[in-house]
Symmetry: C2
Subunit: 273 residues, 2 copies
Amino acid sequence: MEELRKKLENLKKFFKGKKVIVAYSGGVDSSLIAKIASDTTETLAITIDNGFFSDDAIKKAEIRAKKYGIKHEVIKLDAKMHELDDLIAQLKKNPTNRCYLCKKIMAIILVNEKEKLGYDLIVDGTIYDDLFEDRPGIKAFREHGIKSPLAEFKISKKDVYELSNYLDIEIPKKETCLATRIRFNQEITGEKLKRVEMAEKFLSKYIKGTLRVRDDDGIARIEVDKDEIEKFFSEEFIKIVVDELKKLGFERVSLDLEGYKRPLKNNIHKNIL
Amino acid sequence: MEELRKKLENLKKFFKGKKVIVAYSGGVDSSLIAKIASDTTETLAITIDNGFFSDDAIKKAEIRAKKYGIKHEVIKLDAKMHELDDLIAQLKKNPTNRCYLCKKIMAIILVNEKEKLGYDLIVDGTIYDDLFEDRPGIKAFREHGIKSPLAEFKISKKDVYELSNYLDIEIPKKETCLATRIRFNQEITGEKLKRVEMAEKFLSKYIKGTLRVRDDDGIARIEVDKDEIEKFFSEEFIKIVVDELKKLGFERVSLDLEGYKRPLKNNIHKNIL
């Protein structure tokens, strides 16, 4: 605990006297860094809403910021920054470097806000553990001068949980990027992201645990935890699911017979799903 | 029956004295026309094996030809006719005019054989009913001068069955084109066609009725008749299927929750599946 308190002090020292923008998703890591910054200095947490996270996730991020007294702003990615047009067009094609492009777009917006509002630096919630994974988003943020104090001060996932506990910050449910539901090189559209979001919301009423509705070029493929597959051993339930997902715009509705499988760690950016 | 016998006489008259190549798949229509031609005049039935039909289907076509005394040859589509390179490259990309391109390639090979071997004409098994459907393959054959005597003499599906019966020709099981398992614009490869073929062969041991294993860019999607879906209501059976299909090279294995649906008639070339 002594060591952890030391790390917290280092973080506070790091922020002291600076005006800080936090790239804030509402997740456990960025919530922690936003709270520490906000308790220490003038801080603005910014969530960029590009449609890749559910409306629920954005709303929860807002509620959390309010709850912990963090000044917060959501910036919707719309077509007002024309310097982004080309990057957005690339991103929509859903190339394998999707994560990098997405974070690059976010970084440009954040840097723009920083300059416009006269802030001193931008930080994100990257932790020490993340440095050992292949995370192309980190690279994009680094290229735009965004700092990762949690990583710099060697704060691990375990430390994040302990510090959150110490600072009385609730651990939020993990939100995942909806773009991961769409296969690489199949176009990302708002319509596709929305129907994935709605389909998962609908199924979550029936399914426990992990749940993904993949969009394989218009075909829904439902992934659930292995022990939840038997919920589909019912003609009635199948009919309910098929009817609803087709109403949402899926052409066909299928069930992945293996169910959800966590991707390999070192492949996480490809599959974080 | 009198009218039918008249139609048969017309067909025989049509063939008389000509050396005929029949585009022969082993299906009910081309078997009938091949038999009638072969009983009347010098006839060579040619099956072009481009990998789109299962090895079983090709073998059955050979056995049928032998059984009915029809001279028969299988031409494997390999890279010896360089004038086809461009068309084959187009076809492999699996565009929406796949059926047209496929038949065009067949037509060119057939015309080449006709000239090489000194035959007078090429016929196919197109029947009268087919003319009222949107069949892009017919167009390709027409463009290369291939005749459709069954259609010309207004022989309907019903007539085909009656004539086959009259001539003592067994009705074969319908074979379908394996390329239809691959979604448009997803590359057709020999490997994909082969694993679809193997997967369907494997599943046919367990599943009755219609059975399709679609390849959605490496993801197997199994379609069975609605009343066969409950076979999958078993963890054990799912395990058997997943293990086998993954062994065949599929990345993921899914079950279509609606099961097989016959496509609309006027859409048949898009979906004949």
